[in-house]
């Protein structure tokens, strides 16, 4: 290859941008060519001079600190903003989930209260309110044996204003339970007993609350959920609940 063709590529060779094979060939030529060798040397000198001269401007240390401080501040602000947003979104998500969960839980609880009320009303409206008719707790309690998967104690009500009317099997959320009916004057009060686990913990304890215009008390004891409900006064509901709590 004539020298003028080599020289066309001299700068590219010195920039190290020729393909490897061509680089080797060029190197061989430059070392042996009396024309190209000084030209290459001169251009290398120019390159080196430009490298030296080209680096003449250095930033002031104060300016560097200023930019570095600016970056650090912005980064931290960005980091804080990111995390604040992330935290806010997390709180929103958790709140939303919690609200959704609580909403669902509240909905189930209210539905359960409504079902209890329905059971109470339906039983009173029925021509056969109870399946076992007796004021004797030793008669009523054994009647449930083998009919429900748990046992319970009935209180002594002889010296109280309450009298046992009888009992029946009932169901709440497909779980079997005992439904006892007590009379208090002209009022009739229902006492429901279910296994706590069958109600999946949707009931919370309450000494006296109004649900659908009925007074209600509920508590959990020995794995069983007790619900006393009726249109009697809260004091009567509470009193009967107290008798049950002390039974056994």
């Amino acid at each position: 290859m004539p020298c003028n063709l080599w020289k066309e590529k001299l700068d590219i060779y010195l920039d190290g941008e020729l393909p490897a094979e061509e680089m080797r060939a060029f190197e061989g030529h430059v070392h042996s060519c009396a024309t190209c060798a000084p030209d290459a040397l001169a251009r290398v000198q120019v390159k080196r001079s430009i490298q030296i001269v080209g680096k003449r401007f250095a930033p002031a240390s104060e300016f560097r600190r200023r930019v570095q401080g600016f970056i650090a501040t912005k980064s931290r602000r960005g980091f804080r903003l990111t995390w604040t947003l992330a935290a806010a979104l997390s709180v929103l998500a958790v709140s939303s989930l919690l609200a959704s969960y609580l909403g669902a839980w509240e909905s189930r609880r209210e539905q359960s209260y409504a079902e209890i009320t329905d059971l109470h009303v339906a039983a009173l409206a029925s021509s056969s309110r109870v399946d076992v008719v007796s004021s004797d707790r030793h008669t009523v309690k054994p009647w449930f044996q083998g009919r429900i998967p748990f046992s319970f104690d009935l209180p002594v009500v002889l010296n109280s204003e309450f009298s046992l009317v009888g009992g029946r099997i009932t169901y709440l959320g497909q779980a079997p339970g005992a439904h006892l009916i007590y009379a208090a004057g002209k009022h009739e009060i229902s006492v429901f007993i279910f296994q706590d686990r069958a109600l999946r913990g949707i009931w919370g304890d309450s000494d006296g609350a109004k649900e659908h215009s009925f007074n209600l008390a509920t508590w959990s004891k020995g794995g069983l959920r007790y619900v006393v409900i009726g249109d009697a006064g809260l004091a009567d509901i509470g009193e009967l609940a107290k008798l049950f709590k002390n039974a056994g």
């Binding site: 066309e8 001269v53 401007f57 200023r66 930019v67």
Partner: protein, 192 residues
Amino acid sequence: MDVSGAGHQLESFEELAMPLFDQLYNFAHWLTQNREEAEDLVQETYAKALKGFSSFRLGTNFRAWMYRILRNTFLTSRTGLKVTMTVPLDPEEDGAEGAVERDTPETILFERSNREVLENAIAELPVPFREVLLLCEVGEMSYEEMAETLSIPIGTVMSRLSRARKALRNRLRPAPQEENAAALAKGTNRAV
């Protein structure tokens, strides 16, 4: 400086960008030819880069990205617009420039060792020539990296670089009366 991998987001912008501070400032000063404007340009570059860091693409060249931001910022600045509008370039053609037969400018430069002459010659180059020459020689960028930085094809990088070198050689070539003096000095040196 290739930044790749999913972990790069964990690296702070500061860790990646500050090592480039000196060379970016130097480049900015060569473009603006003014300390205050260079500082403004660098500061704006870092502000823009920091703001756009989340959009920086994985696996691409971070240094080229920073240089590109600085260059674009300069070109859209008042100084940059003025410079690029008043120094039109001939149409560029891809491919290397023809061989330079005479090696006089290089020899003269070598022999004169005149730093100031070279500085002035570089400073007088039109911005497109100045920047490509500085990116190549001072930034030691590959043709590919320069193409990425300048957003032009590699062929254009090669032709522009070749023309920049030619323009520099022409500026280093002494005026006729100086040439005589240089020749005289050369002869004197040889005699010595």
